[in-house]
Subunit: 159 residues, 2 copies
């Protein structure tokens, strides 16, 4: 999807550069071949939980706040070890298969991201049941997972 790609690009740019207005970000995105309007950007930034913070020099800077929420529990990102094997949907829930023994880690990590979309998770040995909040579609959860675990979907499709 177009949006997912944009969300990821936004996060990347914000991490790497000093962005202080949405127009500035807009131009950067164009430079990467991704284009949208300021309105869409505003919505995306809200969805990503991106904060605008005045730094010590008196300038404003956009900054990911995902880290903020999750630092306490989980300061790391799980996107290297290919632990996730498959994702199946059933009854509005999401069942995530991992390699043996890794459901718990992974669920703990997903919880740590503190995403609103996810009500909670239950993990066995190699299977996680992910319960989305009421009103959240599985599609939204997918987007959300892509944010938490960039590349996750590509990884699965590859198999």
């Amino acid at each position: 999807m177009q949006k997912t790609k944009r969300l990821l690009a936004i996060e990347k740019i914000i991490e790497e550069a000093h962005i202080s207005t949405q127009d500035e970000l807009l131009k950067r995105l164009k430079g990467k071949g991704i284009s949208c309007t300021q309105a869409t950007l505003s919505r995306n930034l809200r969805q990503l939980g991106v904060a605008r913070i005045p730094d010590s020099t008196g300038e404003y800077k956009y900054s990911l706040s995902e880290n903020i929420r999750s630092t306490a529990n989980s300061p790391v990102k799980l996107n290297i070890v290919p632990v996730i094997q498959d994702i199946v949907e059933a009854k509005g829930l999401m069942v995530i298969k991992t390699i043996p023994g890794n459901a718990s880690n992974t669920a703990f990590f997903i919880d740590g991201a503190g995403r609103y979309e996810i009500a909670g998770t239950i993990a066995g040995d190699d299977t996680i049941l992910l319960i989305p909040r009421d009103g959240i579609t599985l599609q939204q959860v997918h987007t959300c997972l892509e944010i938490i675990l960039p590349g996750i979907h590509d990884q699965i499709k590859k198999k």
Copy 2:
């Protein structure tokens, strides 16, 4: 001074209440007998380093950013599951300690990378023995591990 009192009041209100616009804050201040204009407020908020963050329900909230800054601007980002605890070398071999129950899958992953430098691995519950090929130095294995699991060494040193 008038300003100091106001700055303190602003911090207090922001900590205690869910403030999402400056006008809202303005009214709260009036309720406390402190009055100024939105312009002044904007300046004060910048001086205090107060961030405006979209929370997970999609609302905006002003928030003191002292806590935030350290993490938000931190240049260091780890990218792996923190399963590996330690690496010790002995007799030309490498002993890798993981958190309980994770030796097997980590070893499986290392094997999966198919690196020439690594002859093979043997895993227990929380320990992996990694056997380098003849002629490969431990230094080379380190480099190799860094390729397979970027950031692994930083992670260990941090502990």
